[in-house]
Symmetry: C2
Subunit: 226 residues, 2 copies
C-alpha cells in the first residue's frame, strides 16, 4: 500500500447535525434540538483554539465536548440528567449514504484513515456505529494537537510511513484542504451542502483547484480508479 | 463499548518466525532462512532497549528492523539487493489459524486493538494482510516508547477512554502480562508453543494466575462469553 486517503469526519463522513439533534431530543425533552446541536457545535472551534495557541495543554475532544455541553445547557437554561451519556452522541453519528460504499471502494488500492479532531476513543466507537472500515485511526489523537495545525496532518502522514504527496486529504471544508495542500498532501473536495441544514452558505463549491472534486465518495472512488 | 482487549502481535497473533523465513528465502537464496529470521529477531530487544533507557530518542520499529537486517546480513556474510523490500516481511506475517475467528468473536462485546511494539504503519499493513479486524491501532506508535515500559500500556488504555481494569492484555508471553497486570489491566495468556519452533522452552505455561488462560483465541472468546 503506497497511497492513502485520510478523511475529515464531522461533516465530511457524517451528518453530525441531525444525528446530534436526535440524541439531544432523547435526552433534553422540550428543547429545540437542532438549535441546541448547532450551539453545542458552535463551541467546538473556540475550545480547540485555546489548545492550538498553547493557552491549554492537549485534552481530547471528548473532554472539550463535555465542557461545551455544560456551557450549552446553561445557555439554553436546561439541566442535564446525564451529560456523559448525551456526550456519547458524537459516537452515534449517521454517515452520508455514499460514505461506506465509497470507503470500501477506495480501500482496495490505498490505506484509509480518519484525520479528524476527534479522539481515537471517539473515532473507534463511531466507526463501529457507522461501519467505517478504517485501517487505523489518525488525526488529533495521534498528533495531540488540533487541525488545522500542520502537525496533525504531518503526524498522520508519518504514521502511515508515506510521503505527503502520496496521501490525499478528503474533506467537505475548503480550509481543511488548504492546510493539507500547504504541506504537500493531495486534496479531494466532496461538498456536503446539507451539513448545516437548509440554506447553508459555506463550502458549497471548491475554493481552489483541488486535485479531485467529486460529488460524493462513490464518485471520488470512480475518479481515482480511472 | 465499555471493555477492550489489547493484543501482543508478534508471536501471540502471528507466526513471525516461519513467515519471515519464507520472505528471507525469497530474497536471500542459499542462506539458512530460519536461522537468519531468528538472528534478525534476536536484534529486536537490544535495539529497543536503547530507546527504553533513553540512550536514543524514539524511532519506530520499521527503522530498527531495517538497521537490524543490515547487521544480520553482515553476520551471515550476505549482500541484500533490496533490504527495504525484505524489511516488509514484517507486514506479511501469517496469523495462527484461531486468531481471526477469535478476534471476530471477541469484538462482538469489546473494542479490540493491537498493543504491539510495531508501528502504526506496520500494524495497519499487517492487518490488511492477515485480515485482523482491529478497531484502532495502539501500542508503541501511540505511546512513542516500547513495551514493557508502563507508558505503552497506559497510553493504549487512555486512548480507548477506559480504565485499566476494563482492558485485558492478551499475550503469549508471561513478561508482557506481568507488566500489564502491574498497571491494573486484566490479563489473558494464550500459549504459542511453536513461536520459536520445535523444542521451545519459554512461555509454555502461565507463570502466574492470569485472569484468563486459554488454549487459543477461540477458547478465550468462549471463556469470556460465559
Amino acid at each position: 500500500m503506497r497511497h492513502a486517503f485520510i478523511f475529515d469526519v464531522f461533516g465530511t463522513c457524517v451528518d453530525w447535525r441531525t444525528s446530534v439533534a436526535r440524541e439531544v431530543a432523547r435526552h433534553v425533552p422540550g428543547v429545540d434540538a437542532l438549535a441546541f446541536a448547532t450551539a453545542w457545535r458552535g463551541e467546538y472551534d473556540p475550545a480547540m483554539e485555546r489548545i492550538r495557541t498553547g493557552g491549554r495543554g492537549y485534552v481530547d475532544l471528548d473532554v472539550l465536548h463535555l465542557e461545551n455541553l455544560e456551557r450549552t445547557a446553561t445557555k439554553f437554561g436546561v439541566t442535564l440528567s446525564d451529560p456523559k451519556a448525551l456526550n456519547r452522541a458524537w459516537e452515534r453519528l449517521d454517515p452520508w449514504e455514499d460514505v461506506v460504499p465509497g470507503l470500501e471502494a477506495l480501500r482496495k488500492d490505498a490505506l484509509i484513515a480518519p484525520c479528524s479532531n476527534g479522539s481515537i476513543a471517539m473515532m473507534a466507537r463511531l466507526a463501529r456505529y457507522a461501519r467505517f472500515p478504517w485501517d487505523c485511526i489518525l488525526g488529533a489523537g495521534v498528533a495531540r494537537d488540533y487541525k488545522p495545525k500542520p502537525e496533525v496532518y504531518l503526524a498522520s502522514v508519518a504514521a502511515l510511513r508515506l510521503e505527503p504527496k502520496d496521501v490525499c486529504m478528503v474533506a467537505a471544508h475548503n480550509s481543511d484542504l488548504a492546510a493539507a495542500r500547504a504541506l504537500g498532501l493531495k486534496t479531494a473536495f466532496v461538498p456536503r451542502p446539507r451539513e448545516h441544514g437548509e440554506g447553508q452558505t459555506t463550502d458549497l463549491a471548491p475554493s481552489e483547484a483541488w486535485d479531485w472534486v467529486a460529488k460524493d465518495f462513490d464518485d471520488l472512488a470512480v475518479q481515482v480508479a480511472r
